[in-house]
Symmetry: C2
Subunit: 390 residues, 2 copies
């Protein structure tokens, strides 16, 4: 217990273990994690702690070392306590139960316990258990909570660290609701989101056409070029949908009167109502987000007379309701797309926490970036890396 505690540095306004914080300035920071003891404003509740090197793994477990872990928008909602998926308490620091932030990440297997098969040191693994606590240097995990990620030419750490949430969401939404033939259209809003960009690329790899909706913005031409470079067929703004002549052209000329049978929504609100009206008969509108924070509001006539179906997609549920084989197949499919150059790294920046930085400084860096991300439209994916982790 003392052995553990003397290496723990606890900083941050609302996290305190015991009556006085330990102040340790220049010890070896073997392991670090971004943790919290109660949900709330991330700039208040998040802190960084240093903890001991992990002991050798118990039977049927393994130790992994995280290489990169994204800070996804949903992760922030989990910290805030406003997301349906809840983190679980872990005693990363012995005797002190904390929540470890982070749901997604790429790790390397460091050591496997007896009874673990199919995984060896040096393998790359990703998380299939939700809220695994990936904002950490090292974790001891159960083999069923991770999935081996096959190595492939062109597959980077950034790809690996962002492989279990956005690309599978895009892939599954394109597959699970409507059987689309080559040259059929998919319509999506929030097309510049990480999922949106994956949709564009995966659809293009299948010969599907995409109608991509984005907000009006000063750099619309640049964005349009960027999305088209990924494989987007058309890029329009939500405002464009008010143009009757254009929407007629879309339905009659672009889609040859066939109608668009799949719409993907991460916005909701009135712009999505306009989008839904553009869908053809027997279409599915699949929601995976609601950036407008408005409800999804649709004329009932679309359901009754155009046979519209609206559904939702949540990759976390997919993992819960699918077999290990399904998950392995999905990862193999996505890795194949990467190695064929058909699925690029998301735009990103890496937030490195140096081995020599104090926990206080590290915590502040993370709180700062999350504050910026919470302000909205940060644009790039932020990936966390703890340097010098063992």
């Amino acid at each position: 217990m003392l052995q553990t505690l003397h290496r723990v540095t606890i900083l941050g306004p609302r996290l305190s273990f015991g009556s006085r914080p330990f102040s340790v300035s220049s010890i070896l920071r073997a392991n670090r994690a971004v943790v919290y003891t109660q949900t709330g404003d991330p700039s208040q509740v998040l802190t960084t702690v240093t903890y001991d090197a992990l002991p050798s793994p118990a039977p049927d477990t393994l130790n992994i070392r995280f290489l990169l872990a994204p800070i996804n928008p949903a992760d922030i909602n989990v910290v805030q306590g406003v997301y349906p998926a809840k983190p679980s308490l872990t005693s990363l620091v012995e005797g002190h139960e904390v929540f470890v932030g982070g749901n997604e990440g790429l790790a390397e297997v460091v050591q496997v316990g007896t009874g673990v098969s199919g995984l060896t040191s040096g393998d790359w693994v990703v998380m299939t258990k939700a809220q695994a606590g990936t904002w950490a240097s090292s974790r001891n995990v159960r083999p069923q909570d991770v999935l081996r990620l096959p190595r492939a030419d062109g597959l980077t750490e950034v790809h690996g660290a962002t492989m279990t949430v956005n690309p599978p969401t895009a892939y599954n939404m394109l597959n699970d609701f409507v059987t689309l033939e080559k040259d059929e259209w998919v319509m999506q809003n929030g097309a510049n989101s990480a999922v949106g960009q994956a949709v564009i690329q995966i659809a293009a790899s299948r010969g599907l056409k995409t109608l991509n909706l984005v907000r009006q913005r000063p750099d619309l031409d640049d964005l349009t070029r960027k999305l088209k470079a990924l494989g987007a067929t058309k890029v329009l703004t939500y405002d464009d949908l008010a143009d009757r002549a254009l929407t007629k052209t879309i339905v009659k000329d672009w889609t040859a009167g066939k109608g668009i049978r799949l719409g993907l929504n991460c916005v909701s609100g009135k712009d999505t109502t306009a989008m839904a009206r553009l869908l053809g008969d027997d279409a599915y509108l699949v929601s995976y987000g609601a950036m407008s924070k408005e409800p999804l509001s649709l004329p009932t006539s679309l359901f009754i007379f155009k046979n519209l179906t609206t559904a939702g997609f949540w990759q976390s549920r997919w993992y819960k309701t699918h077999t290990r084989e399904d998950k392995e197949n999905l990862m193999r499919t996505l890795v194949d797309l990467v190695s064929q150059g058909k699925l690029k790294e998301p735009e990103h920046e890496i937030l490195s926490i140096g081995a020599e930085e104090s926990d206080e400084a590290a915590g502040q860096k993370i709180r700062d970036i999350i504050t910026k991300m919470s302000a909205g439209q940060y644009g790039k994916k932020v990936l966390l890396r703890f340097e010098g982790a063992q």
Copy 2:
């Protein structure tokens, strides 16, 4: 041509055939129909005409005589031109193309043309072709547009005349979306509608429990008793859903925490948002109407995190997309329920047009009742009968 015209009496503000109307006061009114030549306000465009007895049916057609035909709310929308299903012009009165009102009805086969098999004089038939024009004494039809209705103990003309729209809507919505086990719950709004009452009875016949939502009203106790007599398990008002303690009781106690997996909606608007929140995981919300004239507005989180699916149901589409065998099976199933006393006649009144009434008087009667029905909440189903038709 003259032969035809001298029996036609055309009255009504906006319908005129030729330059001067014929005034015929006391001739034999062999056949009459409620017709219009352009869509619009039913009190302006609907009129009643008398027309000749039909000639013997051409090969592969048959002549039928309507016994009873309902005036359904959707029929009024068709006349108004605001319904997706459009009527087709027919030359009921030779040389003058008109729309004949009415979509549903019970008819008796009068005479079959050569080549028609499976139907003989005296058989009861119902319409499977939408907008067949049932507000008429007699029609010449194709065999594929009608379905023989098996006679059964307890099956009345009222049952027959109301058998192709509301009971199948109820039956199919209970079957096509979610596989419900005995003792599972179905929730519906507009529970006092004709479809709602059919839902209650068909659900009860299968051992399903129903949570029925209705508007607050002075005679709520009477309505509750009436719906419970049909087999309703629980009856609540929309206002009741604001009561958190009650909604907790519904979810925890009534449904034993299992969650309601099927909701049926003919209202939309905010009351339906509250209803949707009460549904359990993996539920379907199926819409078949929108009496509030408000959109269906739902938090996107219900789709993503509770896996809600919303769909629509339109019996007209069902007929278009199903085989004759499917339709025969459906009618047989419903007739069986009637003969077992499990599906009662809807509350109704019969609007009889006497053989001696002038077309003008008949037209006025029909326009008056439709004006009353259009004002909303008429309560009873109105069935049209032309007396003395041959």
